[in-house]
């Protein structure tokens, strides 16, 4: 075989490898789309098990409050600090409260809460449903004439879609409060002026856009958790892989969806 042919065949190998990856990606995307379609078809068709929804809201929402609260606080605080330092160069320190509240409500509140929830909730959902998959509990559900989408997927998605905006509303308040603490305690802002500037500047639209984002993130988080769990294979190792996959894919999808929604909401 000549050297030329060798190069050619190794080139083909590369193309084949790329082709395989692309095909796998497309197949995965297709499966996810089908999964999401089935889930949505069950959300709009009664019955919905409201008791399970409430139970999941408690698990997703209530127990996440401390985590989300703390992250939001420090995010608000550091945002305030950086804007002050940056603004200082142009003598724009006065705009700190306005920029903090804008940054928190429009972007950081939903994104930070979304990412924290992706780590906490997606992982927990994937581990739970993945274990149910590999121990045949999902098969058992089916044979007991209970649709696993209705019983497992729908309550988690509905709960996350409803709960995430509530968590983000809390995160927004605590984030602004974090900025306020730094602004008044270490940057020398007057408290009343800080609050006044914040309140006069922020619009309902800013907050609303953030809450809509939060709902979409909630959907992504629960969907990726359920999807990865449903498709986990093998034993403990498979469940571990599903958990990682859920967190990574949910995080990436959240950031991508965030960009799309920002460009949609705020394009003039």
């Amino acid at each position: 075989m000549s050297a030329n042919e060798n190069i050619l065949s190794s080139n083909w190998n590369i193309f084949a490898a790329i082709g395989r990856v692309v095909l796998a990606f497309l197949a995965g995307t297709g499966r996810l789309a089908v999964f999401a379609g089935i889930a949505i078809s069950h959300i709009v068709r009664p019955p919905i098990y409201w008791q399970l929804v409430l139970h999941q809201m408690l698990r997703i929402g209530y127990f996440s409050l401390p985590v989300v609260g703390l992250t939001a606080f420090f995010t608000g605080a550091v945002l305030c600090l950086q804007i002050y330092i940056g603004g200082n160069r142009y003598g724009a320190e006065a705009f700190v409260p306005q920029i903090v509240v804008l940054g928190i409500t429009r972007e950081l509140g939903p994104v930070i809460a979304g990412l924290m929830m992706a780590g906490r909730v997606s992982a927990a959902i994937a581990a739970e449903i993945g274990t149910m998959r590999v121990t045949e509990q999902i098969d058992a559900l089916t044979t007991l004439a209970t649709n696993p989408f209705k019983y497992l997927v729908v309550p988690r998605i509905v709960a996350a879609v409803v709960t995430l905006p509530i968590l983000v509303a809390v995160a927004d308040s605590i984030g602004v409060f974090g900025g306020y603490i730094v602004g008044t305690r270490s940057l020398g802002f007057n408290g009343a002026v800080y609050i006044n500037n914040t309140m006069n500047f922020v619009t309902a639209g800013d907050v609303r856009s953030g809450l809509i984002k939060a709902s979409v993130f909630g959907f992504i988080i629960a969907l990726m958790g359920c999807y990865s769990g449903f498709h986990s294979k093998g034993g403990a190792q498979g469940v571990g892989a599903a958990t990682t996959q859920a967190v990574v894919s949910a995080s990436i999808l959240i950031l991508a969806a965030n960009y799309l929604m920002t460009s949609f909401f705020f394009s003039e």
Binding site: E136, Q137, D139, A140, L144
Partner: protein, 257 residues
């Protein structure tokens, strides 16, 4: 009674990737029969039951339940035919987020909308039938031993009085006395309630006790099928080797010696 077979598999094939597990399974089970499927580990016994339940989709062939083609049934049609079945999974498959009694009563509450209080009474009754006391009703599955979990799975399978029962290794992991209790329970459910039962077992003592017919699965096909009484003179070397439990014979295990 009508003559339509209760369950009928025709040429069922199932492949996982490149591995052909079922290679044309033909099996006909009449109403009220108790059939045991025997066969080596990994020959596709569990897969066969899962194909009938639609948990796995057969690649080829057809499956009829009570005369109705259920090979590709889905949605409410599938739920309707699944209500005829009770299944004991090989690993138990108990819901670990629910208590024992909720596990047993699951099909009654979720599937049939029975009030919880009434369902709980039925659950405790069924638990007693498999030799478990009401004390454990509120425990979670993780707090039970393997054999106890198996019996809870059994209680869950029979809870809704289904007309067809599938038992995947009902006596594996039980002590001999409890195994006998379970064998008697299966035999009497079939005899007294007219239930159709399909069990998988490696335990020939159990197979002889609970079945009226035995079918042997080998290399993806049913290679022998006949009345339990005639198993000792089947004239089939594979069956003979299996019931003797001998390493010598036509069935070669893929182990290096």
């Amino acid at each position: 009674m009508n003559d339509t077979p209760h369950i009928q598999l025709k040429g069922v094939k199932k492949r996982f990737g490149s591995k052909l597990v079922l290679d044309g399974v033909d099996l006909t089970i009449r109403r009220g029969e108790s059939v045991v499927i025997i066969g080596g580990s990994g020959t596709g016994k569990s897969v066969t039951l899962k194909c009938v339940l639609g948990i796995l989709r057969a690649d080829e062939g057809s499956i009829h339940v009570a005369g109705e083609d259920v090979t590709r049934a889905s949605g409410s049609k599938r739920d309707a035919y699944l209500r005829k079945f009770g299944m004991l999974f090989q690993g138990g498959a108990l819901f670990d987020s629910l208590s024992i009694w909720e596990n047993v009563a699951f099909g009654l509450i979720q599937g049939r909308g029975l009030p919880r209080k009434q369902a709980r009474e039925t659950a405790i009754e069924k638990l007693a039938m498999v030799g478990l006391s009401a004390d454990i009703a509120n425990l979670s599955p993780a707090e039970l031993s393997g054999g106890m979990q198996k019996r809870v799975g059994l209680a869950r399978a029979i809870a809704a009085n289904p007309e067809i029962l599938f038992f995947d290794e009902p006596t594996t992991g039980l002590d001999p006395i409890m195994a006998d209790v379970i064998n008697k329970l299966i035999a009497s459910t079939v005899r007294d309630l007219g239930v159709t039962a399909v069990s998988i077992t490696h335990d020939m003592v159990s197979a002889r006790r609970i079945s009226s017919r035995i079918a042997m699965l080998y290399k993806g096909r049913i290679i022998w099928d006949g009345p339990t009484d005639s198993i000792d003179n089947s004239g089939n070397p594979y069956v003979d080797q299996f019931i003797r439990g001998s390493a010598e014979g036509p069935i070669r295990m893929e182990v290096r010696s």
